[in-house]
Amino acid sequence: MNDIVVKTEDVVKEYRMGSNILRALDGINIEIERGEYISLMGPSGSGKSTLFNMIGALDRPTEGQVYIDGQNMSQLSQRQIAAFRCHRVGYIFQSYNLLHVRSAHGNVTLPMIFAGISEKERNQKAEKLLDMVGLGDRMYHLPDELSGGQRQRVAIARALANDPSIVLADEPTANLDTITGREIIDLIKRLNTEQGVTVISATHDLKMLDVSDRIVDIRDGLVERIRNRDEIEIEVGEVGGEGE
């Protein structure tokens, strides 16, 4: 039996823009298995980031249900949702979303503070994670003192702080140059293969598709098609990492 970690049922999301209603998601049904590396692909405005937000409990669907680990997310209390975000999911964003007032180390320890982990333990863990992403020597720098690639590494270390079973990455390479982007992708892929973390990534970076197990094409708020890695040919070298 397949171990489904994320399942969406007819998820609809509407935004009210003045008097207009924008239907960003128009009934999405997908299932994601544990340990998979999934890329949600689509042009800007296709709804992939909206779907990303629904799966990560960062926003509420207008209609439909999202199940994670078999739990209907709409039935969770505020405290359960906070615990879910804290323990089960690690988020990586396009614009890093680091807290500017906290050092790299401070950013990585924050989710552990929320999880109630002791100071000693969280310091050790933060050092270990920052070492792993190659920032052992810049631990106490503020985000403003780090390059884009380094900030994204801090964000990855922070996403892993509470050993989540799912990592959600929203366009993690969009603000990075090709080489740095490649490094970030390799790092995320390593988490997927070595630690068995389920990776769900919204992207239009072809380099990310190359490492994905499945690619979900989203268009106009609908799943256009789902392809397995071996069904598509990507010549990453030739494309040279250009997004679209």
Partner: protein
């Protein structure tokens, strides 16, 4: 679909953690904190100086001394001129609007931070508590400095108007003259200024922080300032 371990409930953080995080935040954005605090200081300084000046005027008038410059021609029977009431009310309005505005701006530019903290597992109440602590501290320290500056300003003005007589009849403590209105005294005015500054700062910051904390994180992070 398999049922995995149920999702637990998020724990409350100890108060000391909130205190530590909010002070760290104030320390690192020191420059920005100073500007916000300066807004509170100015508002309270204005209010307290007008108020204290009025207290001094009334006290010296009660004592029979008269200003060398002001002749109290507008003075009412109660001892406070309509002009003074007008000035106090105006300064109060300036103070309320100024503080509310600076706190509102300071919180609105941090919506993304609030959204991010929620992504990492912060409870709504924790976010609000952080802003409550930060703004309470900013409000109190800003208002205290403002009240002292305002008092100093009023004393200097009083010296100019009444000379050294001011110190003999300085209305430091509350007093109830036989046939006059209750005088609050400068200490109470300073204290009221501090409390008002703190309350305004806390309301001005916690209300938008509470609204931001209630938003789903995706929406809070989308907010552009």
């Amino acid at each position: 679909m398999q049922q995995r371990t149920p999702i637990e409930e998020q724990i409350d953080l100890p108060f000391i953690e909130s205190l530590r995080i909010s002070f760290q935040s104030l320390k690192i954005r020191f420059g920005r904190s100073i500007i916000t605090t300066a807004g509170i200081t100015l508002g309270i300084a204005f209010l307290v100086s007008v108020w204290t000046n009025n207290e001094i005027g009334v006290a010296l008038q009660e004592s029979g001394r008269q200003s060398t410059i002001n002749t109290f021609e507008e003075t009412t029977e109660q001892g406070i001129s309509t002009k003074d009431i007008w000035l106090i009310v105006m300064s109060l309005i300036v103070c309320v609007v100024g503080i509310a505005n600076s706190m509102l701006m300071a919180v609105t530019e941090r919506f993304r931070e609030i959204g991010t903290m929620k992504c990492l597992g912060a409870l709504d109440g924790f976010v609000v508590r952080l802003f409550l602590l930060e703004s309470g501290f900013q409000g109190f320290s800003g208002a205290l400095i403002g009240a002292l500056i305002g008092t100093l300003g009023a004393v200097l003005l009083g010296l100019k108007d009444y000379g050294l007589d001011l110190f003999f009849y300085f209305p430091l403590l509350p007093a109830q003259p036989e046939n006059g209105p209750m005088q609050l005294g400068v200490i109470i005015v300073i204290l009221l200024g501090c409390i008002l500054g703190m309350i305004l700062a806390v309301i001005g910051s916690s209300f938008p922080a509470w609204r931001a904390a209630k938003l789903p994180p995706a929406e809070a992070m989308r907010t552009e300032v």
